[in-house]
């Protein structure tokens, strides 16, 4: 907390209960600009709940989430996105009936047009600039040859890449990734790590939820460990790796 202006995401005192279950208890998180912050923890630890609170899918019982100077708590998901938060879901959320190009055009339009714009007589095809923007992101992710393909026909790994492209085209201030490599082959995982490392070089701030320690240690600058709704440890990947408390809670004593 040495320099407040560097903090992109600031979560303070967030609590959430579902019925009698304490899903999140007094969560405090500060994420610095340009850093990749990993949140790890066993199943049911509250990782996805925390992400859902950040994007406005769930309202916390108490506590606040701030993006820079803006309060995110109480805002709708589309307002939070417009403020600069993009999210990759655990199961790819894309537009299956549309082509890859269209899938990427839509978030690009959201960034340009805002949450609502009525332009039924404008030609989309005549808008070269936005097509170039979308195409350059597709190129970054190696999808340019499939731009006219239907998204439904892609493999699961490719769908994730499409979703990542949809987020990157908005150049968000904060990118939230919910298990971006779940269900991927080793090859695809490594490819995704490479892509994410490249994004990191551009200085995009990321929060990543991940089970795969290989991914966490290749990407994260900072790790928070969540267990039973509370943060039990924080530190660099190396510190976390050696923390006996983490090994106990997360890995049942096994070695990382």
């Amino acid at each position: 907390m040495e320099n407040v202006s560097n903090i992109v995401l600031n979560v303070t005192g967030v609590e959430k209960t579902f019925g009698g279950l304490q899903a999140l208890s007094n969560i405090n998180l500060q994420i610095e600009e340009g850093k990749t912050h990993a949140i790890i923890g066993p199943n049911g630890a509250g990782k996805s709940t925390l992400l859902n609170v950040c994007v406005g899918r769930l309202a916390p019982d108490s506590g606040t989430v701030m993006l820079g100077d803006e309060t995110l708590t109480g805002k709708m998901p589309y307002e939070i996105n417009q403020l600069g938060v993009a999210r990759v879901f655990q199961t790819p959320e894309i537009f299956p009936e549309l082509t890859l190009m269209e899938n990427v055009l839509i978030p690009a339009l959201a960034k340009r047009d805002g949450q609502f714009k009525f332009n039924p007589f404008k030609s989309l095809l005549g808008d070269k600039k936005i097509h170039d923007e979308a195409m350059s992101v597709l190129e970054d992710l190696g999808l340019q040859d499939q731009a006219q393909r239907n998204a439904a026909s892609m493999s699961r790994g490719d769908k994730r890449r499409v979703e990542l492209a949809m987020c990157l085209v908005q150049s968000p201030k904060l990118l939230l990734l919910d298990e971006p490599t779940a269900g991927m082959s080793r090859h695809d995982t490594n490819q995704t790590i490479e892509i994410l490392q490249q994004i990191k070089k551009r200085g995009m701030t990321k929060v990543i939820i991940e089970h795969d320690m290989h991914v966490v240690f290749s990407l994260a600058d900072h790790v928070s460990v969540l267990a039973q709704g509370a943060i039990i440890a924080e530190g660099t990947p190396e510190e976390i790796r050696g923390n006996p408390k983490v090994q106990e809670a997360y890995l049942g004593g096994a070695h990382l």
Partner: protein
């Protein structure tokens, strides 16, 4: 690539206009070239094209669009009664008023999605029907239907000669009955189609399609989907209102039955039959249904006996016995059967059938390789039968 698509659209537009204007010629051999029926093709085409902007693009199934059709008709007849027999003011007021109603009804119904949305629209349409049928009798003339009378003020028109009959609708002196009436509807239809084409090709249209594809994602992508849906609802409501005014233009009479749920259901059938979410599909669906309605409802037992008179008497009677329930007043049975066949075997409607044939021909011409079944881009969601 961009130029090619623009050229394709231009070609599509020209071809569409040519086909519509040439209707009196190419409909002649199938006995459908008389003005009354062609007017219906154009009017229901507009209705279906507009309905498709809501249902085809966003996937929101409204069961209440006949209400807007009725509002358009009533407004147009009132314009003929109070202002002038010129059709332009009626057309404008009818479309606008339908838009105002669509805004109010859509605002409420769009608080829900899926089946709840459909039920809400159905409820509103039935309320409108009952209002028109009984409660608002001073405005709608109840079950006798709103008609022109000799006592109507028509403040913008010259006073009629004494002894003259009811005036007819006109466009700057040209009477809007018969063939000129059809050509007027055809021009409006072509403009309506052009607007729909523009919407399909706009960023707005793409966003509507994306709402249908994954509304949840749209939220996390930064779009407030409600105003988009409302805009689509109002546009399609205005199309329905426009179609309603044209009904009044070609026959200056407005009855409450125009707002009944069967009329709302009919436009759903037209859209699905032709091809949901396609540009020309709804027009084809509207044409087919109106054509078959015309053919089949004209049949009766005597006509059937005549057709099968070449058979031995017992077979003749058997055939008539089997077919009779499907024609005349029972033609909806035929429509139902046709609809089922289409939905089961061609979920994308006639347009999917055509594109399958086109693909098959193309593959036949090149070398036959692999199984390349085209997946329909838009499948109707279940539950609208």
């Amino acid at each position: 690539m961009n130029n090619k698509t623009t050229q394709k659209d231009l070609f599509l537009m020209l071809a569409f206009a040519a086909v519509i204007f040439a209707m009196p010629i190419w409909l002649e051999p199938i006995g459908a070239s008389y003005p009354d029926l062609m007017q219906k093709f154009a009017i229901f085409g507009i209705f279906a094209i507009g309905f498709n902007i809501l249902f085809g693009l966003t996937g929101y199934l409204s069961f209440g669009h006949a209400a807007f059709l009725g509002i358009g008709s009533y407004t147009a007849v009132w314009s003929f009664k109070l202002l002038t027999m010129n059709v332009i003011p009626g057309l404008i007021f009818g479309t606008l008023l339908a838009g105002v109603f669509a805004l109010a009804i859509g605002f409420i119904c769009l608080r829900r999605s899926g089946i709840y949305f459909s039920i809400l629209t159905l409820a509103f349409a039935q309320m409108s029907y009952n209002l028109a049928y009984s409660v608002l009798t001073p405005i709608t003339n109840g079950e006798t239907a709103l008609q022109l009378t000799l006592q109507d003020p028509r403040i913008l028109d010259d006073a009629p000669l004494s002894g003259a009959g009811l005036p007819s609708t006109e466009l700057f002196g040209v009477s809007m009955s018969g063939l000129p009436g059809f050509y007027f509807c055809a021009v409006v239809l072509i403009i309506a189609f052009y607007v729909s084409l523009k919407i399909f090709r706009s960023p707005f249209g793409l966003k509507l399609a994306a709402i249908k594809s994954n509304q949840n994602r749209m939220g996390y992508t930064g779009f407030n989907t409600r105003p988009y849906l409302l805009a689509a609802f109002v546009i399609s409501g205005m199309y329905a209102g426009l179609a309603g005014t044209l009904m009044a233009v070609t026959d200056p009479l407005a009855g409450a039955e125009r707002m009944q749920w069967t009329a709302s259901g009919e436009v759903v059938l037209m859209t699905i039959l032709g091809g949901l979410g396609t540009l020309i599909g709804p027009m084809i669906g509207a044409g087919l249904i109106k054509y078959f309605e015309n053919i089949f409802s004209a049949f009766n037992e005597n006509v059937l006996h005549e057709i099968f008179s070449f058979l031995p008497e017992i077979l003749e009677n058997l055939m008539v016995f089997i077919i009779n329930p499907f024609v005349g007043k029972g033609w909806h049975l035929t429509l139902g059967a046709l609809f089922m066949v289409i939905v089961i075997f061609l979920p994308g409607g006639i347009m999917e059938g055509l594109s399958r044939i086109a693909k098959w021909v193309r593959k036949d011409r090149s070398k036959p390789t692999g199984d390349d079944m085209g997946t329909a881009k838009s499948k109707p969601s279940p539950g609208e039968g």
